[in-house]
Amino acid sequence: MNAFVQYSVLNVLFAVLVSPLFMSLIKKVKALAQGRKGPSLFQMYYNLWKLLKKEVIYSSNSSWIMRVTPYVNITVMAVAALFVPLILIPQPVYGIGNIILFLYLLSLAKFFMALSGLDAGSAFGGMGSSREMTISALIETITIVVFAALAFALKTTNLHEMFLQILESNMLFLNPVLILISISVFIVLIVETARVPVDNPETHLELTMIHEAMILEQSGKNLALMEWSHAIKQLLFMGILINILFPWGIAVALTQYSIVVSMLAFLVKASVLAVAVGLFESSCAKSRLFHLPSLFTIALFFSVITILIEVFA
């Protein structure tokens, strides 16, 4: 049990501390792609620090949901961080890592976020919530099929066991199923973290914003928590993708040396992925809401194909 506590503290702390870095890294890559200098890599930390010192102001119309949502979000993400091993795969899995529970945790956070968007009674918040729910109604089925394909291919529903299995089989880059799934997971990553073809994380334009609209009424500490939980969510999806495609370097035993190596390896791998996400974002324009299903269907197509290949070939 002691080892479990160590794992939890390590993994959750790592996720919480490192996640803002990749938000700024993606911003930086996008800025460089546009020929701007871009913010410092630690800008997100400064932002969070600034927001944490600020006062929280609630709308007079808002209820307890507004007050509870930031804490629900950050807690849920911290719990979800247990499910995705970032630097250490604990050998007995301690009964965590179930993929279905992981997805439900994420939708719990999303549910509260959408409610808080409605709660303050502002038109923008309600619009954001409605859009977010529309998109998540479409993408969640696809996310489930994607993870079902992953579970089907690796014959387990436990994320830890999946990653361990990939790590142990030396199919360097050459498992056709995993390549197909990682395309789908990449699309899910883009959609779930509100990135460009779906949502534009930079704008505060009423016509385009989805995620930003929902947290428009949050202020001070609460806003900091919302943004932080968003960053953790992104890191978790990145962690899943990294562990599917390139798990090598992750520690399987808890020794000081292996942990340090695995932290460095994760930082390098995640930076590469973040650069890829930034370039992907720079390379396409935000698409219309009604064109989004074709992006989602590509993810669905690949996961269905994965299942077909697994069944037949």
């Binding site: 199919m171 880059f173 050459l174 498992n175 056709p176 390549i179 197909l180 395309i183 299903p293 074709s294 992006l295 269907t297 590509i298 669905l300 197509f301 690949f302 269905v304 194909i305 077909l308 290949i309 037949f312 070939a313």
Partner: protein, 237 residues
Amino acid sequence: MIAPALLDNLIKVLINLILATAAIIIVKRDVLSLVSTYSIQSLLLVFVASVLYMENANVMLLYLALLTLVSKAMIIPHFMERIQKKLNIKRDVEFHYLSPTSALFASVFIILVVYFFLFRILGELSLSNVFFLGATVGVSLTFMGMLIIFSRKQTITNIVGYLTMENGVLLFGLFLTELPLIIEALIVIDLIMLTLLATILAFGINSSIEEFHARLNPFKRFAAFKSRLLNNEGEDE
């Protein structure tokens, strides 16, 4: 020598990527990226043929790979890009019968049906898994090309659909039958003629009658020159 299991896996990955390019062709609206996706697809086919050559050491496969590389990955996309520039069509956003989303659903269905029928037909041949997968994806690719042809309105995308169909035939041929090189070469010549014709038509459609006259002018001058020459000969006598 590379282990056969590794080669098999490599082929599977390549086949999957070919399917991925077909899916992208179905949903993409931007004409230039349609063409470049097609050339990537052809390049993947070249890789498949080369990996098969590593397994079988059949020289025919190498020739096929070379032929595909030169014609489908280089010449045809080049012509297509020229057509695109000339016609100045950047995007194909019109669809009939099927939206891209439902076309993708339909192609999943097609793959299932193709698999089912091929299994009924070829089940007794006891092929290896990879070969069966290749044959299935090949036939499905042909049907997906057909799907592209009938769900798009722009001629240039229809051509891409037709080319995709041919890639499907080639894939099927690579895995299941010994597609004779001569037939493949004939098909490639057909395809090049198709794109050439499309280029000529594209250039013709956009030019006005005056431009045609201007283009005919060299001939006129030639005729004048010839008649002068004849006249001179007459004067000499």
